[in-house]
Symmetry: C2
Subunit: 224 residues, 2 copies
């Protein structure tokens, strides 16, 4: 491979970790630039960084571990996008609406990121599987990662709690976990279908989101 742009300088001693960050950044750039999250290969990442493929293995055990690290970054960024959208909210219902819109916008702005973490076969589950296949009593350093992924879900649970608290009649309060799950899947449905079928004549996002949120709000706060 001809190095046309030998811009990258070798890291100095003790700065080897720098490459790790560059690898993750390159992987994300490739997700954005290629229409296909499958195109993100070890070789493509290495070329983008300006390094040979084997040097990737200094920082990641294999491709799965690399993708897992990318997923962690994406989940963290999704979570913080939702949290910053929530801050402008005037009340819990408004908060849910803003978070829903932010979620959809995140997915549509970075469709291949979204595809990687929530539409493709689960990297994390696959890693756990293969790790446990090798070593049955496996004390997972990965297991903790599930937490990172569900920070956004934990925050959604908080929002749901605030909404359910608006229902004065405790006997009409829905289960917080099931409600959060239903909201997540509804918003995921909007996002992932638009990513999967971009040529479908979708209505405007707000119309779509309203048709989920307005019924949900009326139902959760129902007085009968």
């Amino acid at each position: 491979m001809a190095r046309l742009t030998p811009t990258r300088l070798r890291a100095r001693r003790g700065e080897g970790e720098r490459l790790r960050g560059e690898i993750l950044a390159a992987a994300e750039e490739l997700l954005i630039e290629t229409a296909d999250s499958t195109a993100v290969s070890i070789r493509a990442i290495a070329e983008r960084v300006g390094v040979t493929p084997p040097s990737i293995y200094r920082h990641f055990a294999d491709k799965d571990h690399l993708l897992l690290a990318v997923c962690e970054e994406v989940f963290a960024r999704l979570d913080s996008a939702l949290e910053s959208a929530a801050q402008k909210a005037s009340d819990p219902i408004d908060e849910l609406l803003r978070k829903g819109r932010a979620y959809i916008e995140f997915g549509l702005a970075f469709p291949e990121h979204y595809r990687l973490v929530l539409m493709r076969p689960d990297v994390q589950a696959h890693l756990l599987d293969t790790a446990q296949a090798k070593d049955p009593d496996f004390d997972s350093p990965i297991a903790g990662h599930t937490m990172a992924q569900s920070n956004a879900f934990e925050h959604l649970l908080d929002t749901v709690d605030r909404i359910l608290a608006l229902q004065p009649d405790p006997s009409r309060r829905e289960d917080r976990f099931a409600t959060a799950t239903a909201i997540w899947s509804a918003v995921h449905g909007i996002t992932s279908l638009r990513i999967a079928k971009p040529q479908f004549p979708w209505p405007p996002i707000d119309v779509h989101l309203d048709l989920i949120c307005k019924p949900m709000r009326a139902y959760l706060l129902r007085q009968d």
Copy 2:
């Protein structure tokens, strides 16, 4: 490749079309047996049928056209699953609920089929793209296929019409297209998230579905 089981008999003259059906059936078997819809390769299909890879090209121009044919079959089967579920319904709302449950069950019973048609990069759109790249004024024999795919959607629109007709106040009748879209995406969200994250502690399907359908029904039929 050693032919261990030379069970397949060569088709007689004029019966060449038989292989076409066997190819599609083999592709679907592979979707069911492998956990990964990417594993469905020309070579794997040929081996499963008991034939060499080049003979696939007698029936399909390339891999994309083969996958497109599989998608058509899957959509047709999904549509008929929904229609047969709808037949037992007592009223339009019950019809919607039954179709929703049938949709989810179809997806969870055939997750890789579902992944292929509704979670992976769109085969059909990709085919249209490449065909138009080659031949700018392209009179698509594929374009008609969009219809096959949306038979299920057309039928959903019918169901929605029946529900909207239950709303006595015309000024409160939601848009049929947007409503159908919202319902589709809600049910797709449940299905695809469960496929993508099988290890998540999902609530029972009926709880999940109720949390979408009950608010939607109350909203569409609202009297204020």
